[in-house]
Symmetry: C2
Subunit: 236 residues, 2 copies
Amino acid sequence: MKSAAKAMQAEDSAETGAQQIRDAIREAIVERRLSPGTKLSESDVGNLFNVSRTLARAALQALSYEGLVSVEKNRGAFVAYPSPEEARQIFSARRLVEPGILREAAARITADDISQLKQLLLEEGRLMSERGQTARRAEIKASGDFHLMLAEISGNAIMQRFMEELVARSSLVIALYGQSTASSCGHSEHGEIISAIESSDLDRACRLMLHHIAHIETDLDLRERKSLGLKEAFEL
Amino acid sequence: MKSAAKAMQAEDSAETGAQQIRDAIREAIVERRLSPGTKLSESDVGNLFNVSRTLARAALQALSYEGLVSVEKNRGAFVAYPSPEEARQIFSARRLVEPGILREAAARITADDISQLKQLLLEEGRLMSERGQTARRAEIKASGDFHLMLAEISGNAIMQRFMEELVARSSLVIALYGQSTASSCGHSEHGEIISAIESSDLDRACRLMLHHIAHIETDLDLRERKSLGLKEAFEL
DNA sequence: GTGCAGAAAATCGTATACAATTCCGCCGGC
DNA sequence: GCCGGCGGAATTGTATACGATTTTCTGCAC
């Protein structure tokens, strides 16, 4: 309900209404307030934001292009439920592009950028030590923001958009298959990467980045979770 | 009309009507039947395909997410007109991801894949020697398909989709800023890359790929083309 | 002829209406 | 009791309707 109110207040924004709805839903998905598989009916979304189905539908379509929502013909839209294979591909893509982004970012980075990165790191650490759902959600967001900021620094808007997609989908994967409570990125690894950049040791930075991504993947249990709703579900 | 890479997904009236329209327009853009800057009004598109504005709008929205169409609020949709900076970023992105894709593809490639690649090459060569608009258009498509097939072989659907976007946008850039009539890729370079893959010389293949992309860029004149609609336009 | 205000036309943004499809419970047959 | 078919409700797919914004055209003053 309060999200609906938020949508109303920003009514006279520059963007078309569908964009705001899309952003609101995306944020909810990335922060894991919406679980994978949840049905997002057009009417419900429309009612929630006090708009017609037209706009709700447009927002859902947009999210499906980002891979955060899957729409099935004549059946509706659902929060994406990435398969293990999809999960592997997402992280494979990250391993493929993030070192390159890191290199480009390092080539253009300014002192101001570095201090911003460090501030992000600090914030991340602060949230980690806090308790509570909201802190947890903010932490998830912050740890993704580190990777996104590197993409931003790289100065390539296309890669930046791609990284936004990958980070968002990673959040879904972690929500589904993550095991440890340490929800997302190893915080300290972010710091080490910054250090390596500062000392202009690019190779080391890239190695750390790859290690970091691998580390996140290690925390996943990517076994096919079939229906499982059988005897196995009850014999424990 | 049987592009191998189009092995995308089934038919039987496939997806919702908007998708077909989107694909048709995308093809027209990539084959340069639609020039950058051309206005795509919702009504016109709808009439052209005998559907309502609703579907036309959905298709245009979809294309805007791919960067092939830019929609301006309350003004309409236009075939994208990438700025020189955008063009640089597109090719920068390709330099960043294509070597990685190539490596993954090489790791999974089969004999059958190689023969398909070679066949694509042959087709490309044949089209090159032909005259006429339609041959030219088919050639443009074929030269892009080489890169797309590598992405497909890599087995990563996410990277494949990203490459589809990059190749399509590259076509726009070449249409805008390309100088030589040799519309697109150096044909022979594709062959060399295949050879390097065949002999398992990955480093060489990557070097060739980077060189190949650089070669395409060399053919661009990325100077800001301001209005130019002034005296310069008439004094020649 | 030039320039500008204002109306008319065209086009987009959003809502609503209707058709098509799927989902779900009910019922009779076996 | 279980299975398969048959409405009715719910939901999506598409079209149309209407208000808002932009563009174009017209006419009058200068």
